[in-house]
Symmetry: D3
Subunit: 116 residues, 6 copies
């Protein structure tokens, strides 16, 4: 894994800021919609983060997977629950998902090690 | 919507049967894995069906969406919960998801009308 | 082509209305962002509709293609310009785009016949 | 299956002709490249048609699948070979491929019935 | 961003050369079609590069995005025009496009800094 | 190419092991199905590896491409056969495949150099 979680966060924060500073009203609104999509509503934030994780797995976006793995962990998702969600992503999306699953598990191990 | 829910079900059942009758051991095992992925486990069936629904939305597969809309309803997912899940799919997958969202809402209306 | 342009429009309008009536604030906002994305801005509406058309081609969404073919024609896009845009979509997206290209050309012929 | 193999062929032929008549030089060249990609070369046509079939399955394009199922059958691909190729497509592409697999098997049955 | 624009260019040039040297006639013809797709025609090169950029965004290919960002800048596309094109890509393709948007903006900043 | 073939192999092996150790029965079964999909059957392993390679190309997964390039070479696939398979992937998947084709050719050169 070439990029640490810390580098990922720094690049993400810094570029998001540059995008929002460019002051394109509708891009800013899209970013706001994206944030709110995962807040408590009819479905709780925890479930929505799992939805975001599996959507990211089947669409095979490593950065999105990393983001939702971190958020799911903050919402208290347990290792067996992660594995069940990974399994849904794997069955729906097929073996093409496996390289992303490897990196997701690596991120999860990195987060668990930081906790220990 | 050219195909009724009833036609969808008949075609799905009949062809699944023909696929399983062809007796390719590993295709049969894949179908078994697919069924089990949505059964109660570390995550409950209800959450897993929502995961399947959003994965199907962002991958834009009408038949898969129809199947998971039906199953989510059987698991007691409410209209506001459906809308929250649709919203996650829409934000993650973008406006290209909208035609599938229209058909998903049409299916849901069809199911609700059948209930009434 | 199983569905006429008129049927497409009716289904689209009627379902969009049902989605907006369901009154999910953020889904409504997404629909508003989607509309505004194609309005005159730094880039003119005509160019943005061409962008929407080619994005729909490479993502292979027939309903989205139909919608943008209609809008491009309203913006005065000529047949040779359509063909150039189709060619970009075909080269970027590959032969998997061809079935959608066939349906796009059929829609364009249908629109031209209605004009004549 | 809403469209018969015969209707599929007629629409395909007629629209391909209209596209080629529009006389866009590079679209015509793309169509020529597409045809030649499946001709005997370092790999035989039979293998190339199987490659086209599995690529169409994982990209989930029904028209492309139908086309390559027909061509594979002309190249003498047997039912057990089809099932092995379908299985690769299913494992790589996941359960999202299943609705297309059902339609592929239905096409194959239609072709076999026409032979009988 | 692990790879500089200069490294990207060198790898791209060197491998394109190796591919063309392998002397597969139809791969060479595909590369020629790809080049010509963005030349002035019924639509000007500038518009075609914007089409290539948005197609690359929604298909989420960083290398293709980098290439078209560079070419758009050469064609005189302004920052507000880039943002409008990014917004179309974001709305059509959804939040899954955001990591690629971050890298696109980073490339654009890199190009502007080189100009200054 | 930031990651050597050796690093790719080590990361792949080590993470696959961690995934299998997590002891999720159905994830393990999926991995077993994935392995068996490429074994001799009605179609020989060599053909199946070519199917896996082209599926990986059109789905644009570098790790999967690397894996199948290595396996195809072990099965005795020759350079002209690789080029024919690459050409099918390129025509079906379009120019968006080109960056992955560059990396595939680079891997193949790396393997050939190791042989020499």
């Amino acid at each position: 894994m070439s990029q640490s979680l810390e580098e990922f966060r720094r690049f993400r924060e810094s570029l998001n800021e540059r995008i929002l500073q460019s002051d394109h009203r509708d891009i800013k609104r899209f970013f706001a919609l994206d944030t709110r999509a995962y807040e408590d509503g009819a479905l709780p934030a925890r479930t929505k983060e799992l939805l975001g994780l599996v959507a990211s797995l089947v669409l095979r976006c490593d950065d999105c997977i990393t983001y939702h793995v971190v958020r799911c962990k903050e919402e208290g998702v347990t290792r067996p629950e992660f594995l069940d969600a990974f399994n849904v992503g794997l069955v729906v999306g097929g073996s093409i998902v496996i390289p992303h699953l490897r990196r997701a598990v690596d991120r999860l191990d990195e987060l668990d090690a930081a906790d220990a």
